[in-house]
Structure formats: C-alpha cells, structure tokens
Symmetry: C2
C-alpha cells in the first residue's frame, strides 16, 4: 500500500477506493531525511533548463510528487522535508489530485513537458512561454508584462524609485502609472477587468463594470472576397492605421502613453472580421515606431483551425509580434513572449496546470502524424467554395462568405433569420454558432474532413431552402 | 476499439497508446441522428436542477461526453449532432483531455457533482456557487457581480438604457460606471487588474500596473494574544471602522460609490493579521447600512485550516456575507453568492474545470471520515501553545504568536533573522514560509497531527537556539 500514490503528470491513474484511503492514510514517513543542500544539484540543473523557457526567480526546488506523501515533500534530490507550508496538497489524497504551485515547486518533468508541448509550436521569434489557467488571465498577465517593460524602458533601468514603491501601494502614479493598451472596436480579449477594457464586441460583456480610459481604434470593415476588392480594402485599412497613429499621439499627449497594442488575427467574437497581411505588417511597424509592444491575441485563432498553427503565420513575417497569447484549443492558457519582455514579476499560485501540457503534447503528436493542418486547409477550401456557391444561389440571404482554413463565416440577412437558421440546423443534427451581429461562424474540429463538409453543405442547403 | 474513450469526469482513466490512436481515429459515427427536440427532456431536467445552484442562462443542452466522438456531439437525450462549433474538443483525443465549456454544454453529472462537492460545504446563507479557473478570476468575477447588482439597485430594475449600452462599448460611464470596491491595507486578493486594485500587501505585486482610484481602509493592527489586550484592540478596531465609514462617504461624494467591501478573515499575505468577530460583525453592518455588498475572500483561509471549514464561521453570524470566494485548498476557484447577487452575466469559456469538483468531493469525504477539522483544532492548539512557550523563552527574538487552527504565525525580530531561520529549518528538513515584513507562517496539511507538531517544535527550537 505504500505505492498507491500516482503522479498526476502521467496520463495514467486509477481510482483509489474509499476503503483503500483509510489504509493509505496511515502510511507516512517517520521523519525528515536530508541528502543534499537545498536546492540540490538536480534541482539546480532543472532550474537552469526551465530558465531557458520561462521565469524561474521564485522556484525553491523541484519536487518528486510520486514520493511525497502526507506531511512530507520529497524533492528531486531525495531530500524529504516536513512540510509546514503545505499550501496546495492539503490531504494525502492530494498526491492524486495535486495542483502544484508551478512558480515555486514544479515537478521534475515540467521543463521536458513544456519543450514537448508549448515550445515545440512556439511562434517565430519567441522562445519563452508562461502558462496560465485561462484565456483572460493570459491576456491580463501579458498586459502586465507590457506595462512593466514599458516602465523599465522609461526609467532606463528596472530599479523602481522609493516614490514608485510607496505610490503603487495606494493605487497612485507613478507606481501605478497612467499607461494604456490600444485595442480595436469589435475585439474580444476576455472578461476580467484589464481585458474587459480592451474588449469591444458586445455591450453585455462590459455593462456595469468600471473601466479604463484607453484608446480604441476602428478595425477595418473590409469587403469579401478580399482579393476582389483590393483597392477599397486598402483604403479602408489605411484609414484605420492613420487613426491608430492619431490615437497613440493623443493618448501620449493626455499623459496615458500606449504601452501596447492588442489585436486578434481574425476578430472572432466581433463577427469574423479579417484584415490583410499588409494591414498587420504596417500595424506592427507603427507599434515599433512609437515604442509600444505588439500583442497578438491567438486565444481563438491559435491551434491550427486556420490551416497554420498560428493564424498570424499567414502574414509571412519574421518578427510578427512581441507577445502571443493563447488558450482554448491549446488546453492551457498562457503567452509566448520575446526575451526583452521578461516577465520576472508575473506570478500567481497555480501558473496553469501541468497536466494540460502533457495532454497538449499528445494532441500535437496527432496533429503531426495525421497532417491535420493540411487536412484543415483542404476541408477549408471545400467549405469556402461551397459557401460561395450558396451565396450565389441565395444572394438576398447570404453575403460575405470568408475564412482561413476551416475558420469560416458567412453573413445572414438579419439577426432573426440567422438565429432561425442555427435552430433549424440543430434540429437536423448540425451544431452551428453565431458571431457578430448577423454572422454564422464555422469552427469544426481539426479532423473535419471533406466528406463532413459535403454532409454539412447538404443540410445547410436544405435549411436555407426553407428560409428563402 | 470503439469504447476506448473514457470520460474525464471519472477519476479513472488509462493511457491510450499512440498505436491505438490511429485505430481510434478511424472510428466515427456515419452521420447525425436526432431523437428528440433540443434541448430534450433530460437536458431540460438537468438545466432545472443546475439552475438551483447557478446561472444556467447560456446552457444549450447537457452533453454525454462518453458517447461523443470525432465530429459528433451526443447530448444526454441521445441526439447525435455534427459539431460545427467544436470549440473545445478539437481532436478525437480530446474526449480524454476534454475541458468542456461548462457555461454552454456541461456534462450530465455536473449538477450532482456540484452538490456533492462545493454545495455540500456552502457557507451559511448561500445556496448558489459559480466555479472559476483560479483565485484571481474568482475575485474578478465576484467584483463584477457586485457592480452589476449595485447598478441594478441604482436603476431600480435590470434593464440598461441605450446610453448605458452605447457608452460601455467605449469604456465610458454610465455604461462603465465609476464604482469602487473598498479594500484594506495589507490585503491580498489576486493579481489581475481588478483584483490588483484591491491588493495592498507588497509593492512588487502592484508596481507598474495601472490601477483604479478606489478607497483603501486601514486593517486593525492588534496586539496578541487578542484576549490579553481587549481594550486596546477594541479601540484600534473602532478607529478602523470609523475610517471605513468616512471613506464610503468620501467616495460617494466624489462620484465613485462603494459597490462592495472585500476583506480576508485573516490577512494572509499581508502578515497573518487577525481581527475579532466583533470587528467583522460591525463591518458587515456598515456595508449593509451603506448599501454595499460584503465580500469575504476565503481563497487562503477556506478549506479547514482554521479548524472550521470557512474561517468566517468563527464570527458566529447567521448572515455573514453576500459573497464568499475560494480557490487553493478547494482545488477549483469560484465564489458562493446570495440569490440577489444573481450573476446572469458572469460568464467565460471554461468556467472552471469539472474534474476538480469530483476530486474535491473525495477530499471532503476524507475530511469528514477522518474528522480532520477536529484534528486541526487539536494540532493547532498544541502548536500555538508551543509557540507561546518559545516566545517566553526567546522574548527578544519572537513575538505575537497567533493563529486559528493550524493557520498560525509568529513575528521574528527582523527580516534577516526571519529568512535565516527559514533556511536553517529547511536544512533540517522542515519547510516554512514567510509572510508580511517579518513573520513566519505555518500552513500545514489538514492531516498534520500532534506528533508532527512536536517534531516541528523540536527542530524549530534547535534553529532558534542557533540564532540566539
């Protein structure tokens, strides 16, 4: 009965019965046992490895959670310590359900699992990643990293003054500076209060919640298919970019400089609004020119649905972003960042959940083995082609079919018809979702193949015929 | 091979090998199959059940995740639907690693598991709970619930005006109102931007992050043991309560009314600062008198370490709070709330992680079966008694021993000595943590028994002797 405990980091576990629990309860080590200084050589080695991927300033040592039990924590060097700060594994059972404090005492295989999972798909130019528990936390902490980076740049070093330290305790500047994040109308970046100040997709998300005076730029309203309206679209994008620069200057003048710009590669909640690679390239240059960080929010678009692992890879840039945040399809939240946005002060208790990295590593294996990104590209083309045909067939009902990979959408005549179509499709066994004011969005799984597309188009066509 | 998929909601799973994956990949249903309207009778029944515990406004139907596979989602009424909005289970493997969107399509056993876990330990006066992914999200969303409640009270109904709807989209009042949360100096409530505006424990948490102009009251600085300094302590508490009322009036006058008051039953990060039940009773009355919600943050104190499941139960009140937030020991984040703080608009994608409820139910079984709260009370008394003795023995080094259950702390002469003691104890195999400016805090597991206390006191005594 002394080995009933099973690591939560291996996707293999078995049910520990209530009867067994009692027995297990009795087993415990008889006292501390120290083998090396702490941190010992193995902990130091692992800290060094992990330091190449993320901030390790708060790590005490790495834990062997399989050997730890009851009141004793065993580290990776075999030191067994009476744990008087048993914050996160309060009961013996917790070895099974453990959520370790990743920032302080990560498990031994954490650097390896991080390499196999998140770092194996790191966006161009980024070798560091910080995991978080959800999408909103990911963006909140990315904003904090940009604010800290911006203030260090302003100071010329990273040593705060006494005034910084005392004023921040009472929420006042310069310690809590009047900095801002520039966002776009129609954007969605989450629902915690920092994120919410950059979210502008639906009133109902924001209503009644205090916010910040931060600049909001127009997102281009383009005509689809993009390639058929190149000239008008370029004009619209130029207008929006000009407004972005104006806002950056205005907010600097009113004492709330723009520390960062946040944008989605495709505005998802806001109605599947696309922009061209040229727009994003120029926006990235504007950010650089004005000393603002450039944050690409891939919470919705990341993970392969656009036919590339990251939607921003479609822009074809070597240096597309300073920060890329993710969640949803990635199974864990978090953000990649450039070295200079070192997030030494980004910290919380859980810092994500390591079991998710392991699951993600398996998911990535499947994506690679099954060439799912190619599959998505193929299915997406078929889907978009089908939507174009239906749009020609029902010009009064459908418009603006658009998409990248299977990340597609189409506009419906009006909100009521849209909702009716979604319900009718569900009655016929097809689950669709809405976005924006009158769009239907398509978000199939990566294993959605061409024959699924045909199956869908048949049902969709029937439903449309009923509404014509 | 058609039943390899295993529900993530049963604490029993086995490793699915890469070889098996390929086979599994091929298996899929051959098309949709509808048995009832959607939501069907079973979904409706479960929605009604869950509606008694939390907001169900966004739920479409309940899912049978065991039967769902590939591109098909099967609901609890046996309807099999082609899933075109496969947001959260992108690959076949995801049946294994699934993180369902709890707000929209929860699994069948979710209401039952919620009853067995979180609701079985609901604080007095509260029958509703909302789960969240982490402690910061829990507090952020609790604040949002208080703001929404306050604004509905101001309006006299919950229908926003057109001006509310349009102004909130650009972060302006009245849609994004100038409301505030009153917090206490020394408090810690998390690190996302709303929480951070109420956190005042260490400058390093807040530095460089923009904040809100919200009122900050002094937390009583009491003398320990509390019962030996009743008169001075009562005076200090009265001073702080007076300041709270002054701040509420001032902030109302400057157009930023206090929608809620947030407080920890014991300020943990801030240095294990206690206050008396009398203080909390009067504070709760002040909140009621001024129409502010009263939010008790039990993220650190909840889960049994004080000898009661919730630390605020020590106050002995029938109606102690409007909101109680939790995380850490509870394995999932979230908050309990009163009916009138109905959080219809509190929403996000994951809304926590249902596997944690199941683990929590098991943890609660162990706590009950092993009478761990009594154990904690017993061990805590022995520990505090031991700290008192050491404090008498080393009056120049130790002071202010204090605690509830095993949630104990003691002040050390100075910061340097404190840190040296922590390191020396670690070398002898005892893990301690610091809090506040010069305190050591004790946070053992609930299974920390009296003989562990003696073992600890022996080591601690040796370490102190070395520092004398």
């Amino acid at each position: 009965p002394d080995r009933l405990m099973i690591s939560p980091y291996i996707p293999c576990c078995r049910y520990v019965s209530k009867a067994a629990a009692k027995t297990q309860m009795e087993f415990e080590y008889d006292g501390p046992s120290m083998k090396t200084e702490v941190p010992g050589p193995r902990s130091k080695e692992l800290t060094k490895q992990l330091g190449e991927m993320q901030n390790v300033g708060a790590i005490n040592f790495f834990c062997n959670y399989e050997e730890s039990r009851g009141n004793y924590l065993v580290d990776v060097d075999g030191n067994r310590m009476l744990d008087y700060r048993h914050l996160l594994h309060p009961y013996w059972l917790s070895a099974f359900v453990n959520r370790p404090a990743l920032g302080i005492m990560p498990p031994e295989n954490f650097p390896e699992k991080l390499s196999e999972s998140l770092l194996s798909v790191a966006p161009s130019g980024m070798s560091r990643v910080q995991t978080m528990a959800c999408g909103s936390c990911s963006n909140e902490n990315a904003y904090k990293a940009m604010f800290i980076w911006y203030r260090n740049k302003e100071r010329g070093h990273n040593i705060p003054s006494d005034e910084d330290m005392s004023s921040c305790m009472i929420n006042q500047s310069p310690g809590c500076p009047d900095l801002s994040i520039l966002s776009f109308m129609g954007g969605f970046h989450g629902r915690t209060m920092g994120c919410l100040a950059t979210t502008h997709s639906k009133a109902i998300h924001k209503l009644d919640v205090p916010s910040f005076d931060w600049p909001i730029a127009p997102f281009p309203k383009l005509k689809y298919p993009l390639e058929e309206f190149k000239r008008e679209n370029a004009q619209e994008e130029a207008r929006c970019l000009e407004e972005v620069e104006d806002l950056i200057v205005q907010w600097r003048q009113k004492g709330r400089p723009v520390a960062g710009i946040v944008i989605e590669p495709i505005q998802a909640e806001g109605g599947d609004n696309h922009a061209t690679p040229d727009f994003f390239k120029k926006l990235r240059n504007i950010a650089r020119k004005h000393g603002s960080a450039f944050h690409v929010d891939e919470v919705q678009t990341g993970g392969g649905a656009t036919g590339k692992f990251w939607a921003h890879e479609h822009w074809g840039m070597d240096d597309p972003a300073d920060i890329v945040s993710f969640s949803k399809k990635m199974l864990t939240g978090g953000f990649y960042h450039k070295d200079e946005l070192q997030a030494y002060r980004i910290f919380n208790t859980w810092m994500g959940d390591p079991s998710k990295n392991l699951f993600l590593a398996e998911v990535l294996n499947v994506i690679r083995r099954e060439n799912l990104l190619e599959e998505v590209t193929r299915s997406g083309k078929t889907l978009l082609q089908g939507l174009y045909q239906l749009q020609d067939q029902y010009p009064n009902m459908l418009s603006s079919a658009r998409g990248q990979g299977t990340f597609c959408a189409i506009d419906i005549r009006d909100d009521a018809t849209r909702n009716s179509i979604i319900l009718k499709a569900r009655d016929k066994g097809v689950l669709l979702g809405g976005c924006g004011e009158r769009s239907i969005r398509f978000r199939p799984a990566l294993v959605f193949k061409e024959y699924h597309v045909h199956m869908f188009l048949n049902v969709f066509s029937d439903v449309l015929a009923e509404h014509n």
